[in-house]
């Protein structure tokens, strides 16, 4: 069976610098997979390549077995790929509810409609509101995103991505910048996501990785160092070296 997401020999060079070096990667359906690595290992570059924000220098990207290497971002989203951003990337001037409505409208293919008022499509608004209720932020629905505390904005970030009903969800440091007291909420929500969504979590926080992930890929200097179960990674001498080396 084809993987939910796959890259083959994915390369990206900025001048002489190789930030992605022949990355072969498989994300199985329904996976709970983490991508870790020291600062500058190329994790975010990898996400940007997969989503189409960056063009690879070489290699292929497949979603559900279909080659999407040449497709623009929007088309990849239509194939079921969604992401969240490491730094909140939201429509700050719009209300929480409108943020989610935009995503749902795009998914349902009604966002290009110029004739009917947006408000007449209750189905979009109702679905958005229900999503906010599930994430426990329905009471903020009318507030502009920019007025929300950062931790709450993280939840909107998730709600927007989930509004796309993705098959593959890339979570770029989902709890970054959130006070540890509140990050538990985010972890709970991620744990309770439908099992058929393949998750790729890009993370620094090892506690979070070991709690959520069933497989881990370690990226170092743009290349895959090792992949395995959490136990294998925890016991791997090379991984320890990379992380201890960085700490020293």
């Amino acid at each position: 069976m084809s993987a939910a997401l796959e890259t083959r020999g994915l390369c990206k060079n900025f001048g002489a610098l190789a930030v992605a070096n022949a990355i072969d990667f498989r994300l199985e359906r329904g996976a709970r997979h983490a991508l870790i690595g020291p600062n500058g290992a190329g994790k975010t570059t990898f996400v940007n390549l997969v989503t189409g924000a960056l063009r690879p220098s070489a290699g292929r990207i497949l979603i559900d077995g279909g080659d999407v290497t040449a497709l623009p971002q929007a088309q990849r989203v239509k194939r079921g790929l969604a992401r969240t951003f490491q730094l909140n990337t939201l429509f700050r001037g719009l209300s929480v509810l409108e943020n989610v409505c935009l995503a749902i409208g795009e998914r349902l293919g009604v966002a290009g409609d110029m004739h009917r008022p947006a408000g007449s499509r209750r189905i979009v608004i109702d679905e958005a509101y229900a999503a906010l209720e599930r994430l426990g932020i329905a009471d903020e629905a009318r507030r502009p995103v920019r007025e929300l505390p950062y931790g709450r904005q993280r939840l909107v970030e998730l709600a927007v991505a989930l509004g796309l009903e993705p098959k593959v969800l890339l979570l770029d440091e989902p709890a970054a910048g959130v006070p540890s007291a509140e990050s538990g909420v985010i972890v709970d929500i991620i744990e309770s996501l439908p099992a058929d969504i393949a998750l790729l979590i890009i993370e620094h926080d090892m506690d979070l990785v070991f709690r959520l992930a069933r497989r881990i890929t370690v990226l170092v200097q743009g290349a895959v160092l090792v992949e395995g179960t959490p136990q294998e990674i925890a016991g791997d001498a090379r991984v320890r070296e990379v992380y201890l080396g960085e700490r020293a």
Binding site: L90, R107, A111, G112, M114, P117, E133, A138, R146
Partner: protein
């Protein structure tokens, strides 16, 4: 437990959004004012028509700047294209005004589509400059093609037929005023409909955060191109209205001053609200009529100063400060 707490708010938030597009009573205020002006200031109707035309032009800029976030310095390209289209038709034997507007809208809209398809691929400074380049290019073309356009002397010999075969464009500007008012009202309805449509909402999304629009699968380029071409058509109609009501088209219809002053009127009124032009344009143009005729040099000076004060101390100042404070509070771990 949480669902109970917000149970009451649920319909509220959803209802509010579902009703956002409904016409509110105060939205009729500018139209009532415009009708009142017709009876109260009969000797100012020519100025009134100019104001209505400028509102339409500024409205077209608001659509792309205020909603899609495209900063343009060259919207006059489309205004001028529309003006010359209607003007040339009327100078060559077809002076029917309404079809003149339609032709102007088509030419300007196509021009917007073609130039937009090229320049909307760029960003930031390049985009800003290319909007200017397109306008300069057209102005240079109109200037050099003097045989057709009359060059720097302007297009002479327009003959506009009576409106609907009945109403002459007379000296007192009554027909012109009503004509412009009706056209503006109809196009405002269309613009309003677009702004409140899902398409309009997605434009706001593009303005607020383009990266995220890509990430939710929005065809950003296409959306921008559509509104760019639509706004170009609106500008073209505004230009055609000016040509038909004044029976003249000059090179200044394509000039930077027109785009620049429309931008200023929009800022004074408020960007991205659809009503900014209705406040900013009359204020600016009435003031200009009163003060600028005595000394246009002083006028430019004070307008420049006002612009700087608004931008530096009123916009970037207070709002920017509040935003920075909020952001800092939010980031604190």
């Amino acid at each position: 437990m949480r669902a109970d707490a917000v149970g009451g708010a649920a319909p509220q938030a959803v209802e509010a959004l579902a009703r956002a597009h409904r016409l509110k009573p105060w939205e009729l205020a500018p139209w009532l004012a415009a009708i009142a002006a017709y009876f109260l200031f009969p000797s100012y109707l020519p100025l009134g028509a100019q104001i209505l035309i400028a509102i339409l032009f500024t409205l077209s800029i608001d659509l792309i700047l205020g909603y899609a976030g495209i900063v343009t310095l060259g919207q006059s390209a489309f205004f001028g294209a529309g003006a010359y289209t209607a003007g040339l038709l009327a100078a060559h034997g077809w002076g029917e005004p309404i079809s003149g507007l339609a032709a102007a809208a088509a030419v300007a809209g196509l021009l917007g589509l073609a130039s937009g398809a090229v320049i909307l691929r760029t960003r930031g400074l390049s985009l800003l400059m290319l909007t200017l380049v397109i306008a300069e290019m057209l102005q240079e073309a109109a200037n050099k093609a003097g045989d057709i356009t009359g060059g720097a002397d302007g297009l002479q010999g327009m003959e506009v037929w009576p409106l609907l075969g009945h109403f002459e464009f007379g000296l007192f500007g009554r027909t012109a005023y009503v004509y412009c008012l009706v056209v503006l009202f109809l196009l405002w309805l269309v613009a309003r409909r677009i702004v409140h449509s899902p398409f309009g909402r997605s434009l706001t999304g593009i303005r607020e955060n383009e990266a995220r629009m890509h990430a939710i699968g929005s065809p950003v380029f296409r959306r921008r191109l559509v509104i760019y071409a639509f706004a170009a058509a609106l500008s073209g109609i505004a230009g055609a209205l000016l040509a038909e009501t004044t029976q003249f088209v000059g090179l200044d219809s394509l000039g930077f001053e027109r785009s620049g002053s429309a931008l200023i009127m929009l800022i004074i009124g408020g960007v991205g609200r659809l009503y900014g032009p209705f406040i900013g344009v009359p204020l600016y143009m009435v003031a200009q009529d009163r003060f600028a005729q005595a000394d246009p040099v002083y006028w430019d000076f004070w307008i420049g100063l006002l612009l700087i004060i608004v931008v530096v101390f009123a916009r970037g100042g207070l709002l920017g400060l509040a935003e920075r404070l909020l952001r800092r509070r939010g980031r604190k771990p």
